[in-house]
Symmetry: C2
Subunit: 253 residues, 2 copies
DNA sequence: ATGTCTTTGTGAACGCGTGCACAAAGATAC
DNA sequence: GTATCTTTGTGCACGCGTTCACAAAGACAT
């Protein structure tokens, strides 16, 4: 149930405004979901609302917090204190809600000892010790892509069973270890995809003079500089051309 | 098809190693998906592989790039240059792959003119002008939660039709505008949820002496400090108690 | 106490994405 | 030219999540 945190946030807001009860309809609106879905979620959870009235806000907040395991606090380590790692360390969302940054770890010796968000960065050799001493079971990877799998392996080996991965790599982990991925470029690419579709459907008059696009090709494709067949033929021709700079808009990593 | 970026990344890696072709099986392995799924995805895309051989790497890279709209470059603006916004501006994943940071915008006048990642931060009054002058259609919101909806409205009004939201809020947007959300606390909470379930199932002997948990309650619930009925009763009693400090592990925002 | 009204909880249908399994297609060797 | 072998493309069935719609349940007014 990935929606529980959403409900919790909406409920907390209501709680602060001292609203005693909410109907499934209201809460669903605030969380941006269907009301029937919300009711079903709560019924799976075992929570009981009151028919004719709604759900008791405080009670639900407590129930969901408990279900999510937020009544205990979870020590987390952040590995890779670059731009992103530092931002994460400073991010308030970590500190609150039962999550405590137990340590910041970096592979650059120059970082060691430097305080980030009030916590001294530790060298990566200490990783295993830190995990074990603090009973850390959640690790955050904010390293470059190349180091991610390696760090992941060490975390898992040391006892971490949940990983939040910000590096643009697919991590392979043993059974029983959970990985969640946050990938900025992928999100952007998905947006670009939809954006292109919108542009293609909306403004056929905006099509610039170019190579005639084949039938079935989306209208957004007119921006491309080369014909499909051309590229395909070249690619098939034994790859004599220099691979890498013949596809301009494609990134290096 | 949210998997295309994943494929693209794997394919690009292969391309750099000058691998001419891949089978669906290999590529699926690298992307961490089922091979049948991958083949079906590609067939929807209209791409043709060669039976008995596999897919041509270069051709696929080009096709997917085109499908995702990566053959043109997309100017994006980042609004809210705090820790996270600055990290995003510095993040390499933006600059490459057809995305160009057109502007950094912040509501703090003290930030105006300060260079972040080589780009001078602009004051939020310029938002509309920037969007229109640069033809920006993708906006990134990295503001505090309170300002997010407001910024969102201005972005949309100015012509942005795709938004990547890092603020912990549900944004409401008109039809036709795409929003993707990246929420760190939610990711962590989901991990904690699974973590708790694992702990509950795995180590029943580890249950500390506590209030007897009711039947059907997950074992992880033993960590809680108060009984269900107790909280429920109190919550129902007209909310005489101080709301907010009686639920220890629950966060303020 | 009774009736009405609101809102929950859930049975059932729908749709979609996933994965299996196999036939068609092309390459490669002989 | 024929046979074999690899790998794609896809028909089909399964399972899950979503949504509709309605009956049961409780509150509230009379």
């Amino acid at each position: 149930m990935a929606r529980l945190p959403l409900y919790l946030r909406a409920l907390t807001a209501l709680s602060e405004r001292s609203v005693p009860t909410v109907s499934s309809e209201e809460l669903a609106g605030a969380a941006g979901v269907n009301s029937a879905k919300l009711r079903k979620d709560f019924s799976y959870l075992g929570s009981y609302g009151t028919r004719g009235v709604g759900y008791d806000v405080e009670y639900l907040v407590y129930q969901i917090s408990r279900e999510l395991g937020l009544t205990q606090d979870w020590p987390v380590v952040i590995v890779g204190i670059g731009n992103l790692g530092a931002a994460l360390a400073n991010y308030g969302g970590f500190a609150s809600r039962g999550f405590r940054v137990a340590a910041l770890i970096d592979a650059d010796p120059g970082m060691t000892g430097r305080p980030v968000a009030g916590i001294a960065v530790q060298y990566i050799d200490e990783l295993e010790t830190i995990i074990e001493d603090n009973g850390v079971s959640i690790g955050v990877i904010a390293t470059p892509a190349g180091a991610a799998q390696q760090v992941c392996d060490r975390l898992v080996e040391a006892g971490v069973t949940s990983i939040l991965n910000f590096a643009p790599t697919v991590l392979s982990v043993p059974e029983g270890v959970d990985v969640r991925k946050v990938d900025l470029s992928i999100e952007l690419q998905i947006l670009a995809f939809h954006e292109q579709r919108k542009a293609g459907e909306a403004s056929p008059p905006a099509a610039p003079a170019s190579i005639p696009s084949g039938p079935g090709a989306p209208a957004g494709a007119v921006v491309r500089g080369r014909d499909d067949a051309e590229v395909r033929a070249e690619a098939r021709a034994g790859r004599d051309g220099d691979p890498g700079d013949d596809l301009p808009a494609v990134m290096p990593a």
